[in-house]
């Protein structure tokens, strides 16, 4: 991430502990303006980070600054300016969808009439029609997600914290929610921190990512930069002929310093090779020639966000796990 960009969230040496368990370990990072993805496997510390940003957790060490305010010291000021969409299917019980959103506005400090008017506006925006007058307990998962998003938006926050917003949604519901989040982050001037372990969601919405694993920052930066950095162009090859040919090719490739493996145990002719820096893919054709095998298919490819993620979380998995 470029250091010149305005910083929405700044974390300096942030450590969060639950008793003896360390959820976040000495985290130094910042989120620039716009849409930022927070990636990490389960237990990486994403939800703890969001709670620390909201001031719901007292850091054991380090500091958090959100929109220029120190947290948890100025947590209430931060919460005035932040909208939070929690991970689980939560809602205020015993109310309709509309009442939920209006109530969320009221407890944020909006005058009652304004909260009701604004609730209608944001419910329109997130695509809730007449169903807004049904009891929240009768809603589908997709509708609940929309209500949660509307509740987070009702007081017009400057920063939206979205914790797994597409959880439990069908493909069309998921793409609609992502479209809304993308619109908010790119067209409506609201900063977004999207926590997810669904990489496609983050790639569809965000420009930047923070990748966490076991409470530590693994990598941070713009998605385009990271893809370029981790592209480390891979080549997928299918070796023609007998099964031993691919093994011969891989052995020679490894002696020449390439990272190479057989990614598919059911098809021993498939090879995946990661190119060294500055080496053209054609170099592999020379290796094939020297090992006496014929290449049937040769597919050079760049890295996806998933590959970047796997590379940073577990480099051994990335080589084989992703096709």
């Amino acid at each position: 991430m470029s250091d010149g960009a305005p910083r929405v969230i700044e974390l300096a040496g942030l450590t969060v502990r639950y008793g003896k368990n360390v959820a976040i370990q000495t985290l130094d990072a910042h989120c620039p303006a716009g849409a930022v993805g927070l990636l990490g496997p389960n237990g990486a510390g994403k939800s703890s980070l969001i709670k620390a940003v909201l001031g719901l957790l007292q850091p054991s060490a380090g500091s958090v600054r959100v929109l220029g305010h120190e947290v948890p010291r100025h947590a209430l000021e931060v919460r005035r300016r932040v909208g939070y969409m929690p991970e689980s299917a939560v809602a205020f019980p015993g109310m309709t969808g509309f009442e939920n959103v209006a109530y969320a506005g009221s407890i944020a400090g909006m005058p009652r009439g304004e909260a009701r008017r604004r609730a209608h506006e944001v419910l329109e925006y997130v695509g809730c029609g007449e169903e807004r007058y049904r009891a929240i307990e009768e809603y589908s998962q997709g509708m609940r997600q929309r209500i949660k998003l509307a509740s987070a938006l009702v007081h017009d926050p400057e920063l939206l914290l979205l914790d797994e917003p597409t959880n439990g949604l069908d493909p069309s519901g998921r793409s609609e929610i992502l479209e809304l989040i993308r619109d908010l982050g790119h067209e409506k001037g609201i900063h977004v921190l999207l926590s997810s372990h669904v990489l496609d969601d983050v790639e569809a919405v965000c420009d930047h990512v923070l990748v966490l694993a076991r409470g530590e920052l693994k990598v941070a930066g713009s998605i385009a930069e990271l893809k370029a950095r981790y592209a480390g162009a891979r080549v997928r090859l299918t070796i023609d002929g007998e099964a031993g040919g691919a093994a011969r090719f891989l052995e020679l490739a490894q002696t020449r310093g390439f990272e190479a493996l057989l990614p598919d145990p059911l098809d021993p002719r498939e090879c995946l090779v990661k190119l060294k820096d500055g080496v053209a893919p054609q170099a592999l054709l020379r290796v094939a020639l020297e090992s006496g095998v014929r290449v049937r298919r040769f597919v050079p490819r760049g890295a996806s966000l998933e590959e970047v993620f796997l590379e940073t979380i577990d480099p051994t998995a990335s080589a084989g796990g992703n096709r």
Binding site: L54, L76, P86, F92, P93, I107, P111, H155
Partner: protein
């Protein structure tokens, strides 16, 4: 993909001052409780109960009204009884509280047991705490909901009855004579509001199911008095019944309104049926007249502090633990 109105507009209004943040929680809670969602049978039952629960208040108002303006409305024997009680009319305030508390216990369980339990079960607590609210705002809002009901059945009828009594009395010094009663009325009923609100919220915060919270609370206010009274009688101690919150509350009223002295004054000159009726009224107001008031105040303070401590500890743990309520 459906086409929605994408006209998201920024909101440039002012958020309210922080001091008033508990008000929306309270007003929405009261509105929901009065909405009585839960099927026609439940609604009918609750509305009938609400009407019935107004009977003691209406009866006392009627007695005051008839005594002041229309004695012909009352049967002669009953009028004589009320006339005998007239100098000791202060008894009507703790009597009203005592009668209404029977109904209040049901309301407290119905409306109070789910106040935090439902938020816990539905995971709504992080939604509250992600807003510019403190735990104190949240607790104050919830106390406000149950406090509203308790006040509606204790403090408000007592105050209105007091005001009515003053207005209906055309003697010159009636107001000054009635003024000292305001203190005991406020003290006993505010104590009832604090006690009932805090204890039900504390047990509600401990459970995820309102039914369990209700059962625990009923055990404290209904079964504990039986236990403490039994132990007190066995040990010959007047202090032990004060451990039960309800008995301590009634004994407080007994002390604050000087019911013991009133009884001596009223019981002495009364004869025949009137004497029997007076005895009935006074013993209903407080069967534990000899409980030391200091113990009662200490018991009230202990119950309220314990409830507040449980409430704060549980909610703080919820605040840190997160969405699922478990870690």
């Amino acid at each position: 993909m459906p086409v929605y109105d994408r006209s998201y507009r920024r909101w440039d209004g002012e958020l309210k001052r922080r001091a008033l943040r508990f008000v929306p929680i309270m007003s929405m809670g009261v509105k929901n409780a009065l909405g009585m969602k839960g099927g026609w049978f439940f609604t009918l039952l609750l509305r009938t109960f609400m009407v019935v629960s107004l009977v003691p208040t209406l009866l006392l108002f009627f007695a005051n009204y008839a005594l002041a303006f229309r004695p012909d409305f009352l049967p002669l024997g009953f009028l004589g009884f009320l006339e005998e009680l007239r100098p000791y009319r202060a008894i009507q305030y703790p009597l009203l509280t005592r009668l209404n508390i029977l109904f209040l216990m049901v309301y407290t369980v119905l409306f109070g047991s789910g106040l935090i339990a439902k938020d816990r079960a539905s995971g709504a607590l992080p939604l509250y705490l992600s807003r510019p609210l403190t735990l104190a705002d949240y607790v104050l809002g919830k106390v406000g909901i149950i406090g509203w009901f308790v006040a509606a059945f204790t403090l408000v009828p007592n105050l209105v009855l007091w005001l009515f009594g003053v207005l209906a009395d055309d003697r010159a010094g009636a107001f000054h004579e009635a003024l000292p009663l305001l203190g005991p009325i406020v003290a006993q009923n505010v104590t009832a509001i604090a006690l009932y609100s805090l204890t039900i919220l504390a047990v509600s915060s401990l459970c995820r199911r309102p039914m369990f919270a209700g059962l625990i609370w009923f055990t404290i206010v209904v079964f504990l008095p039986t236990l403490t009274a039994g132990i007190g009688a066995r040990l010959g101690s007047h202090a032990i019944p004060a451990a039960s919150p309800n008995d301590a509350l009634f004994a407080l009223g007994y002390d604050l309104f000087g019911v013991g002295e009133l009884y001596e004054q009223a019981h002495g000159p009364a004869r025949g049926d009137a004497r029997f009726a007076i005895e009935g009224v006074f013993s209903f107001v407080n069967p534990f007249g000899k409980t030391p008031p200091g113990w009662c105040w200490a018991s009230m303070a202990a119950w309220c502090s314990l409830s507040l401590a449980v409430l704060t500890t549980t909610l703080r743990r919820q605040e840190v633990v997160g969405d699922s309520g478990r870690r």
